[in-house]
Amino acid sequence: MALIEIDSVSKRFGRRLAVDNVSFQVEPGICFGLLGPNGAGKTTTLRMLYGVTRPSSGSIRIFGIDVGRNLRRVRARLGVTLQQNVLIEALSPEENLRVFGRYHLLREPELSRRANELIDFLELRSHAEVPVRLLSGGFQRRLAIALSLMNRPELLILDEPTTGLDPAVRVTLWSRVRELQAQGTTILVTTHYMDEAQRLCDRVAIMASGRIIDEGAPAALIAARLARETVEFDCTAAEEPLFLDGDGAGAPRLRVGRRLMVYLRDATALAANVRHRDPQDARSLVVRPTNLEDVFLSLTGTKLEATE
C-alpha cells in the first residue's frame, strides 16, 4: 500500500486554480521529489497533505487515513519542515526542541532524551546552549529539521530544505536525510536544485501551473525525453546553422538566452566542431551528461525545438 495517495486533487483560491487535478502516490521508504518553478503549486500541495489547506475536490490518504477525517492522527505521525525557519530566537536549540516536542505531547524524560538525540544527529552539540539568534543559517536550518523529527515521523515533508544554504551545508544536510531514509523514513521534498533531486530522489514529479506534467525515476525521465549527452555553448540563433551543420543538424536543442544546449547520443563530433571553430573557447563549451535540469527546462521553460 502506498504511504501517500493523492487522488484527483484540486484547489481553487477564488478564481485561481492553484492545484489542478493532481494525482500521485508515494511508496513507503522512498525519497520523492516535487519539482517545479515558483508558483507551480508545490507548497499548496504540501499544505493539503498536512491538512491546513483543504482540497476543493479529490481525496488525500496518508498512512491509509483520510486526511480530512482524522487530521490529528495523521499529523502525529508526520514531520514538516517549512520553507521559513520557525525558531524561538531567544532560546537555545535544546529549549526549542523541548518546546516543539510538547506540541506532540512528549513528556519528560522522553522529551529531553529525544531532544539530545537530535542534537547529536544533526550535529548541533557545539551550539546546543547558545541562543538561536546567534547561530548561522546552516545551524538554524538543521535545527528546523530537527524540530520536525521530534515525534519520530514515519513521513518527513521538507519544503525547499536547502534553499539559500552554502554547498557544504547542503551536502551535510542531505547526508542526514539519506540516513533517515535508510532508517525507514519516507521523504517528500520540494527543491529548486535539480542536481540534488536527481542525486537523492528515487522518484520525482514535475509540476507546472498546478499540474503534474511528468513523473518517474530521474534517470527514466531523462531517457524518455532527451538523448544522454549534452553539448552546451554560447551562440546566437543566427549562428546555429554554422555549428550544427552536419553533426547536430537534426538534434533536439534548447535555448536559454545566448546559451544553446544540444542533446545527442554521442557528443564527440559536435564538440570537436565547436572547438574547431572557437579555438579560444570564447563560447564556454561544456560537454556533460544530460540531467534533470534539461528535462525540467524542456518541460517548463524554453520550448524544445526539434527540426525533424
Binding site: 489547506t53 483543504r54 480530512g68 477525517r69 482524522n70 487530521l71 531567544a90 529549549e95 510538547r102 506540541y103
Partner: protein
C-alpha cells in the same frame, strides 16, 4: 465557517497547554524586557497622581485619594498584561515569525492555539496584577481580608482584554495600527473608567448611562467594591458584561484564527 475543520478540529486542553508552555518558556528568558514598562506604569501613576496630586485631595468617595486609586490601577495592570500580549506579540507570531504555521504541522489545531494564547494572556495579566497587588499591599492600601476578593477580578480583566486584543489583532493588516488601539482606545479607557475620579460625580443622565459601554469601567467598579467589602446589584451587571463581551469576541476571534491559519 469551514465545516470541514469545525467537524474535525476538536479542541483539546493538552494541546492548548503546550501552546501556553511555548510562551512560558520564552517569557522566562525575556520577562525583564516585558515586565518593566507594563508593570511600572501603574506604579508610577500611583506615585505621581496618588501621592503627588492626592496630597491636595483630602478625601474622595469616602477614602483617601491613594486608597481610591489603588483598585482601579490594579485593573489597569491586568489590562496591560493581556493587551501587550494579544497585540504586538501575537501579531509578530502570526505575521512575521509564522509560529502558528509551524504549530499546525503538529497535532495542534487552530482552536488549541486560540485557547493556549488566551490562557497565556490571562497568565500575564495575573503576573502584572499580582506584582501590583503586592506593591499596594506594602503601601498598606489593601484592606484585610476583604481586599483578597479582588484577586479573581484580575484574570477576568485579563480575559476581557485578551479577547479584545485578539479580535483587533486578527483583523488588522499592519502593525502600525496598534498605535490607534493604544492611543485611541486603551488610553481613553484608562482616563475615563472611574479610576481617577468617580464618573457619577461628573456625569449625569444619558452620559452616565453611555459610560457603561466602557469595558474597563466594569472590573474597576468590581475591584473597588471588593476593597470596600460592599456588594451591590450593579456588580452582577458588571460581571455579566465582562463574561458576555469576552465570549462574543472570542467566538469572533475563533473564526479569525481559522481564516488566518487555514485555507
Amino acid at each position: 465557517m469551514n465545516k470541514w475543520f469545525r467537524r474535525y478540529a476538536i479542541y483539546d486542553m493538552r494541546y492548548a497547554i503546550s501552546v501556553w508552555q511555548r510562551n512560558a518558556a520564552m517569557y522566562r528568558r525575556t520577562w525583564w524586557l516585558n515586565i518593566l514598562p507594563s508593570f511600572f506604569e501603574p506604579v508610577l501613576y500611583l506615585a505621581s497622581i496618588g501621592i503627588g496630586v492626592g496630597g491636595y485631595i483630602s478625601e474622595i468617595g469616602g477614602t483617601s485619594y491613594l486608597h481610591f486609586l489603588a483598585p482601579g490601577l490594579l485593573c489597569v495592570a491586568a489590562m496591560n498584561g493581556a493587551s501587550f500580549e494579544t497585540t504586538y506579540n501575537i501579531f509578530v507570531r502570526l505575521n512575521f515569525e509564522k509560529t502558528y504555521d509551524a504549530m499546525l504541522t503538529t497535532p495542534v489545531e487552530p482552536d488549541d492555539v486560540l485557547v493556549g494564547e488566551v490562557l497565556w494572556a490571562i497568565t500575564r495579566s495575573c503576573i502584572y496584577g499580582g506584582c501590583f497587588f503586592v506593591v499596594i499591599a506594602l503601601f498598606g492600601l489593601v484592606p484585610s481580608p476583604a481586599g483578597l476578593l479582588v484577586l479573581p477580578i484580575v484574570p477576568l480583566t485579563g480575559l476581557l482584554f485578551a479577547a479584545m486584543g485578539l479580535a483587533f489583532t486578527l483583523r488588522i493588516p499592519n502593525i502600525d495600527l496598534f498605535s490607534f488601539y493604544f492611543t485611541l482606545f486603551l488610553t481613553p479607557l484608562f482616563l475615563f473608567s472611574d479610576i481617577f475620579f468617580p464618573l457619577e460625580d461628573r456625569l449625569s443622565g444619558a452620559w452616565l448611562w453611555g459610560a457603561e459601554v466602557l469595558p474597563l469601567l466594569h472590573p474597576v467598579r468590581m475591584a473597588r467594591a471588593a476593597f470596600r467589602g460592599q456588594a451591590a446589584a450593579v456588580l452582577l451587571w458588571d460581571l455579566g458584561y465582562m463574561l458576555v463581551i469576552s465570549a462574543l469576541l472570542l467566538a469572533w476571534a475563533r473564526r479569525g484564527v481559522r481564516q488566518r491559519l487555514t485555507s
